[in-house]
Structure formats: structure tokens, C-alpha cells
């Protein structure tokens, strides 16, 4: 009354989907500040305003893939930021660290945090008081550019210096 239990036969080749390959990665200029991103309209902003900071100084820097090293172009931006922040001392500052979507969620939260810390440390090295600076990581949760290739990912790998607490 016992019957063979195994029902494993007829090998079937299992096709794994090899999905869409990553689109070709043309080298593209990485936008370097808000003006490059088309966020602002030139130098008309009131000096000392957050618009002035965003448009004329540049509120964000960009990182290489899986890196939190502050690049040379980013150092120039942060130096300008530090000069501006040292002149307008009424602002408390939050540095947001972000990652592109090409990493897993928890690792990218950690990577965003490291980018924010590297940015904060650079600003401190240029004389910005550490007690004005806070950091937060959004990992890959807050992309600014939405597409499926490197032209967007490079804009999302960023640290953004945000001004708050004016008058405080």
C-alpha cells in the first residue's frame, strides 16, 4: 500500500528573468548648485536671506557613488557656505544627507548620515560653530530627481544645508 513518495521528475530549466539592463551611463555634468538645477533666478535675492543662500551660494553638494568623501567641487561650495554662514549667524543649520536609490534601504540611511556628518565637519573646519549644526539622514527616501539612470542618481547623492531658526 506504500507508493513512491517522490514526485520529482522532468527537470525543467527555470528561466530567471534577466531584467532590463541598466541604461548606458553617459557622462553628464553633475549640477553643482541650485542655480544649475534651475531653482533660482539669479542674484536678485536679498542678501542674508535663505533665497540668497540657495541661489548665490549653493545649498547642496554631490557625492560619488557609495562615497561620503567631500569632492573638490563640493569643497568650494562648502567654503562659500561657511563664509556666508559666518556672516549671517542668526541661522541654525540642519545638514540633510541623502543617497541615491541604488543601494539597500538601511545601508543608505547610514550612508546619508555619513555624508551629512562629512559635510558638517567640513563646515566646522571652516569656522562654522558646531552648536549651530544638526544633521539628519533621509537615506534614499527623499529623491529630488526621479528617473532610472545616473543623471538622476547623481543629483540624489547629496547633502543639503538647510537654514532654520532665523532670528534665534
Amino acid at each position: 500500500m506504500r507508493r513512491t513518495a517522490a514526485i520529482i521528475r522532468n527537470p525543467i530549466v527555470v528561466a530567471l528573468f534577466l531584467s532590463l539592463a541598466v541604461a548606458g551611463c553617459a557622462s553628464k555634468k553633475t549640477p553643482n548648485n541650485a542655480a544649475d538645477l534651475g531653482l533660482g533666478g539669479g542674484a536678485a535675492a536679498t542678501p542674508g536671506s535663505s533665497q540668497d543662500f540657495t541661489v548665490n551660494v549653493g545649498d547642496r553638494i554631490f557625492f560619488d557613488t557609495d562615497s561620503s568623501v567631500v569632492r573638490a567641487d563640493a569643497q568650494a561650495t562648502l567654503t562659500r557656505q561657511a563664509q556666508w554662514l559666518n556672516k549671517y549667524r542668526q541661522y541654525a543649520i540642519v545638514v540633510e544627507g541623502h543617497a541615491d536609490e541604488r543601494g539597500t534601504r538601511e545601508y543608505n540611511i547610514a550612508l546619508g548620515a555619513r555624508r551629512a556628518a562629512a559635510t558638517r565637519d567640513y563646515l566646522v573646519s571652516k569656522g562654522v560653530a558646531g552648536n549651530r549644526l544638526k544633521t539628519i539622514s533621509y537615506g534614499k527616501e527623499r529623491p529630488v530627481a526621479v528617473c532610472d539612470d545616473i543623471s538622476c542618481w547623481s543629483q540624489n547623492r547629496r547633502a543639503v544645508t538647510t537654514l532654520g531658526g532665523a532670528g534665534s
Binding site: S19, L20, D148
Partner: protein, 438 residues
């Protein structure tokens, strides 16, 4: 005349009871081979349960869907049935089922008791051996009729494969709506088949990475509530929330220990790196397990609690490491080329599931706990975050196809076959499978 051999665990809100009506020595009709992709599903006939209303057919269809989705069973179309089951307690005409190649047959009945509860009975028959394999009955509130069906499907799965089932389980996940740069994320919970979705947060704060307690109706997750990203606990039934610990920096990547008494997670250091800590939920004592100038995150305990697998980029890029539960003996185990993250220890203890990035693609795979025997189960443009079914035979993960706008949930067998989309209303990510419900 049949002895009451066991009582099934009784859930407080549910009250299900099983009284086995006959017990035979276990003999698997289906053999599960986790490394080969060539299992032929077992033909099984699942008849509508006798009832006065639609519920008999509904239970049969849920059982059918569960078994079919497992990939191990091929439910036979009802139109092919010859014998009409008029009395599910009577021995069926086995010839009528053998001729349509039904190797197993399920019959049953469901009725409302005087006290309003449902009584569901079922029998599983081996048609070729001409004998009954299981006879059981369950009682439950009418609201739990889907659970009765899942429990019956688990009993059939276990009897025919020799493995525990996983159908009477739930999944917590993140429900995602809205454009990618304005995404709203909510904690959500559903049955493993996508039914009974319930939302556990309102979408105002970003919420991420929910994980089930192995011992309580409780989850741990990360929330950006109040602009401060930190790890929380949430009681699923009461909605009561609690911050885990009072750490100076961001906490993230939480999971429970196998005894449910600790949460293990990453804590951000002031220098921007992340280390792994545990917090004992009773004593509130915190313990640091790693202390590297690198990212250490995504910790996951072995089921016996003796070891922890985690992600670290201390070697230059994210790779998988294993250490003792006290942080001792930190050893890299992933060497396959590319980067590795999101390691999760199998509930059976033998494997670690992971996300691998290589060649511009994301892969879901498994390896043994020493890093050997790597097998890639699925490759895609963007996918990550495997979670194990409690029997360690099926993984769920989330995938975003290029240009699709958002992620969806999928399950796949340890064989790398039988990939199934999990139906969700919106986009879905960060799934975490519950233990078998009790």
C-alpha cells in the same frame, strides 16, 4: 470514539480548536528539494465544503489558492470532478478520483453552531492508498473564516510535505502612495495572501523597515516622527507605541531577538558611522556589539540567538559579516564579487538570505552561514529586502522594475522558482513575515 490527542494553540481573540479525528504515521506525498527547480506539483482535488451558505465554497477556494501559490500542489479543476461529495464523513469513491489523477482529496463541511461560532471539519484522503490521512475540526468566530481556511491549508501542506506550513501568517509592510519625490509611506499589515489589509500609521511621518516580534503581536520599526528618525515598538492590536531607548543619535535597522526580549539595531555615532547595539526590553539595558569606524547595520539573529549576521562596509564596500551574540569573532562571509547587504538568518538556521548588487543589477540570494554555497534566486533592476516565511522555504522581497514608478511585493521559493506577485493596492516595500499565528 476518537481520542482528543491535542489541542491547537488558542489565540486570545480567535479561539480555534482542533480535534484530530484520526492519526496515521506521517508520510510525505510531496518531497521538497530546495536546490532543484524541477518539482512536479502534486495533483489534489479540493471539494467545496458542505454548508448552507457560500462559506463552504469560500473556504475551499482559499485552501485551493494557498496550496496552488505554494507551487507544490496542482489543484484540479472542479469541472473534472466525477463524484459529488454528499457526505464528507463517508469514504469517497477513490476510483472516481484516481481516474482524474487526484492523488489527494480534501472533503469538508462547515456549519454554524448554536452559539454562533463556525465549526469547520475536513478530511484529507490519499486516493491511491485508499485511506484517510487527516480528519480535524476547528471552531472559530465567523469573522475568522479566512483563518480557518489557512489553518486547514497548513494542515494539508504539513501532512503532505512533512514541512510546517506558512499560510496562517501575516505580513507587515510599507504601503507607498504618491509620486516618487512626494511619496507617502504607511505601516500596513495583511494576511500572507494579501487579504485583510489594515493600516497602522497615518502617513504623516516616513516609516520604514517594520519587523515582527517572534513572540508577541508587536512590531518594531523606524519612524521620522517629530523630525527625529528613531526606532519604535508598536502593539498591533492596541496601537500603543513606544520609543526604543533614549539614544542621542538616530537609531535604525531594528529587529527582535528570537526570544522577543531584545531589539537589535544600528545607532549613529557622532562621526557619521553606525554601530550595532541591543536593548533589553525589560531592563532597558543597552549593549554595544560593534565599534568600528564604518557602517555596521542590518543585524539579524540566528534562530538560536547565539550569532548575529550584519552588513558592514569596514572592508571598503558593503559585505556580510557574522559575529557572536556578544559581538565576538566578527568575520566576513560574503566574497562573491559585488556588494552584499540586508542579510537575514533563516528560521531553520541553515541559510542567510541577502541582497547582492553586481553588474548594475540587484539580486536576491541565499548562502550558508559560513558564506559558502551562494545561490541567486532572482535578478532585477532594483530589488531588495528578503524576509523568510516561518518554515524557511519561501522568501518575500520587494522589486521596482525600471520605469514602473514604485515597488511591489513578490514571493519566491528557495528553489528560485514559483515567483508570485503579492497583491497590494498601492506600491509596497519592506515586507516582514510573521511567525505562524497562534
Amino acid at each position: 470514539m476518537l481520542p482528543l490527542l491535542k489541542k491547537m494553540a488558542v489565540a486570545a481573540a480567535v479561539c480555534l480548536m482542533a480535534a484530530p479525528m484520526a492519526v496515521l504515521p506521517a508520510r510525505a506525498l510531496v518531497e521538497i528539494d530546495v536546490t532543484k527547480g524541477n518539482i512536479e506539483p502534486l495533483p489534489i482535488a479540493i471539494t467545496d465544503f458542505l454548508s448552507n451558505d457560500a462559506i463552504g465554497a469560500e473556504i475551499a477556494s482559499i485552501v485551493t489558492a494557498d496550496l496552488k501559490r505554494s507551487g507544490l500542489f496542482a489543484p484540479i479543476d472542479r469541472g473534472a470532478f466525477i463524484e459529488k461529495i454528499a457526505n464528507p464523513d463517508a469514504t469517497p469513491r477513490f476510483e472516481d478520483w484516481k481516474v482524474i489523477n487526484a492523488q489527494a482529496l480534501v472533503t469538508g463541511r462547515v456549519a454554524q453552531e448554536a452559539d454562533g461560532r463556525l465549526r469547520a471539519e475536513f478530511r484529507l484522503w490519499d486516493t491511491f492508498a485508499g485511506q484517510q490521512l487527516i480528519g480535524e475540526q476547528f471552531f472559530a468566530n465567523k469573522a475568522n473564516s479566512r483563518r480557518i481556511a489557512h489553518i486547514i491549508a497548513d494542515a494539508i501542506y504539513e501532512r503532505l510535505t512533512g514541512e510546517k506550513g506558512y499560510f496562517d501568517t501575516r505580513v507587515v509592510f510599507i504601503d507607498e502612495t504618491g509620486a516618487k519625490n512626494q511619496r507617502q509611506k504607511r505601516l500596513a499589515i495583511m494576511d500572507q495572501d494579501g487579504a485583510n489589509v489594515r493600516y497602522l500609521s497615518d502617513g504623516r511621518a516616513i516609516v520604514l523597515t517594520p519587523r515582527f516580534s517572534p513572540t508577541r503581536q508587536e512590531i518594531t520599526y523606524m519612524s521620522y516622527e517629530g523630525g527625529q528618525p528613531r526606532v519604535y515598538l508598536l502593539q498591533i492590536e492596541t496601537g500603543q507605541r513606544e520609543l526604543v531607548g533614549n539614544f542621542p543619535g538616530m537609531t535604525f535597522a531594528p529587529r527582535f531577538s528570537p526570544d522577543g526580549q531584545k531589539v537589535i539595531m544600528s545607532l549613529l555615532r557622532d562621526d557619521g558611522n553606525s554601530n550595532i547595539f541591543t536593548m533589553d526590553l525589560r531592563s532597558r539595558a543597552t549593549t554595544r556589539l560593534t565599534n568600528s569606524s564604518a557602517i555596521d547595520t542590518s543585524p539579524s539573529y540566528s534562530p538560536d540567538g547565539s550569532r548575529i549576521v550584519f552588513t558592514s562596509d569596514r572592508g571598503g564596500q558593503p559585505q556580510i559579516y557574522v559575529m557572536g551574540a556578544d559581538g565576538s569573532g566578527q568575520t566576513r562571509i560574503s566574497f562573491g564579487g559585488g556588494s552584499y547587504s540586508t542579510p537575514v538568518w533563516s528560521p531553520r538556521g541553515d541559510l542567510i538570505a541577502f541582497t547582492k548588487q553586481a553588474g548594475g543589477e540587484f539580486q536576491i540570494g541565499v548562502m550558508r552561514t559560513d558564506g559558502s554555497g551562494e545561490r541567486i534566486l532572482s535578478t532585477g533592476f532594483q530589488q531588495e529586502g528578503p524576509t523568510w516565511a516561518p518554515n524557511g522555504r519561501v522568501l518575500m522581497f520587494f522589486r521596482e522594475a525600471a520605469g514602473s514608478g514604485g515597488p511591489k511585493l513578490y514571493s519566491i521559493d528557495l528553489t528560485g522558482r514559483n515567483e508570485q506577485a503579492i497583491p497590494t493596492k498601492g506600491y509596497g516595500s519592506d515586507p516582514a513575515w510573521s511567525p505562524l499565528l497562534e
